[in-house]
Symmetry: C2
Subunit: 293 residues, 2 copies
């Protein structure tokens, strides 16, 4: 048995890219307990069962699973419905909850409006891993290997439960860091949600102007640079709605920088452009080397 995983049963709610990668990884780590999965897409369940990744063939999950970890891997705005659904199925009290979602404060608010008991046993987590592809067919057993997972502890979490969830992610090859839900959302608005906003907006403007000529002469770099604009619309709509305030403030900050740079180009200000680009290059090269240490 993998000693890092202190659960007897694991139920993954939402067997898409992330949830699917979790059940694949569990098979790879030789997890000795039982794994279950549910999803609105019945085909994903049939497929996951036929690969031997999950016990259940249908939506029927035993109600008395003990030593249970429930992992929610659904679009951000579906979390309340998903919790309510699980509460209707699982009768066992020996349950810990976690999730994999990209926005934390809105989930925390939702949990505070549900009963205290669920809040206390819910450890918020966010594996920083993904792809512009979505769905079970895009999932991969090595998605979390050497990738960061953020854990967002709150007032109701016990140290023991936090350790169990960290151990779970470690067992999938991920390393963990802690951030408050608010700090998480402000930071990821800037470092993850903003790049998606920009990529979607850039692609939109390119298609308005160039249509199907967009990629004809690009030679590959533009494809790489805009890959995230092919991400799942439903997932990113939810993130934009759930983290709207932080994202709007990041957009405002980005537009300040863009206007500063536009002005330098308009003025043909060579010294100013060199200073701007040099500042960014030096700051970037320095920050990345800090992270590497």
């Amino acid at each position: 048995m993998n000693t890092l995983i202190e659960f007897k049963n694991i139920l993954v709610v939402g067997v898409g890219l992330i949830g699917g990668s979790i059940i694949r990884s569990l098979k790879d780590t030789n997890f000795s307990g039982k794994v279950y999965g549910i999803d609105n897409n019945k085909e994903a369940i049939t497929l996951a069962h036929s690969h031997g990744f999950i016990e259940n063939k249908t939506e029927n999950i035993p109600s008395d699973l003990d030593g249970l970890l429930v992992i929610f891997s659904v679009p951000v705005l579906s979390i309340e419905d998903a919790i309510n659904k699980i509460e209707g199925i699982i009768e066992s009290e020996d349950v810990l909850y976690t999730d994999t979602l990209s926005v934390k404060s809105s989930i925390l608010s939702a949990l505070r409006n549900l009963d205290q008991n669920i809040l206390n046993r819910f450890v918020l987590s966010h594996p920083i891993a993904g792809s512009e592809k979505s769905g079970f067919e895009a999932s991969a057993s090595d998605l979390f290997k050497n990738r960061l997972t953020i854990i967002c502890p709150h007032e109701g979490n016990s140290k023991a439960d936090l350790n169990k969830i960290e151990g779970f992610w470690n067992s999938l090859g991920s390393y963990t860091k802690k951030l408050s839900a608010n700090d998480h959302d402000e930071l990821f608005a800037k470092t993850s949600h903003m790049p998606h906003v920009i990529s979607y907006a850039l692609m939109d403007s390119l298609f308005q102007d160039l249509n199907e000529k967009t990629f004809l002469y690009s030679g590959g770099s533009l494809e790489d640079y805009t890959r995230i604009a092919s991400s799942d619309p439903q997932m990113w709509k939810d993130i934009m709605v759930a983290n709207d305030k932080s994202i709007l403030s990041s957009i405002a900050s980005f537009k300040n920088s863009l206007d500063k740079l536009s002005k330098l180009i308009e003025d043909n200000n060579s010294d100013g452009l060199i200073d701007f680009f040099s500042f960014v290059k030096q700051a970037r090269d320095k920050s990345i080397s800090i992270e590497d240490n």
Copy 2:
């Protein structure tokens, strides 16, 4: 002898990332003629000579080289100075010129102001290959393999000269397409210069807000997404100045799309967000598959 290369001598002006990769590639293709290089950075010349990539150890180049191709690989705004310098060195009349620069109209204007003879023998080309790294030490012999090179024919070019330059790029493993200088600059303002503008502006805003915490929790994707913001400041200053009008109009178009998206987020307009993201995803996925055919 590599039959695609119809030159006896090749002189590379500017032995940085691109020029350095050209002389390395020439060695790999077993080019049987002689290769020379000059650069303001004397160390690059010493190094290139010590690797056996170029004949000359110093700036002294024979003035009577015939069957000569001169390739300019200098910052965009240095092209006139570089041409004048070469005109002062090379006495042979049996010369063809090309370049590797990212902006074409400004070079064409400069050429039209020089003598007609140089204009006619100058075939504009732009290999769509590069790196955020710069200088000879970052150069690589496979930089052009399976990459696109754009050729921008003008009124003075003969079919024979265009063929010779296309053959040259093909011999380095690159495939070629033709565009007018104006079309090239408008298109690349959108598909290449704009992603750089955005990347520099995004990094600037992140550093203003997060400083050295920028990459601490990003898990790798942000590094990939902003890689081009570590590009050479001098090179990109020149591109912004030389292609300012097309770049400013691309920024305006991008800001329209960004404002449209911001408004949807502000209004918590779920349907509008889904439509926006779905349009972009479908258009992107479709355009990329067109390019693949």
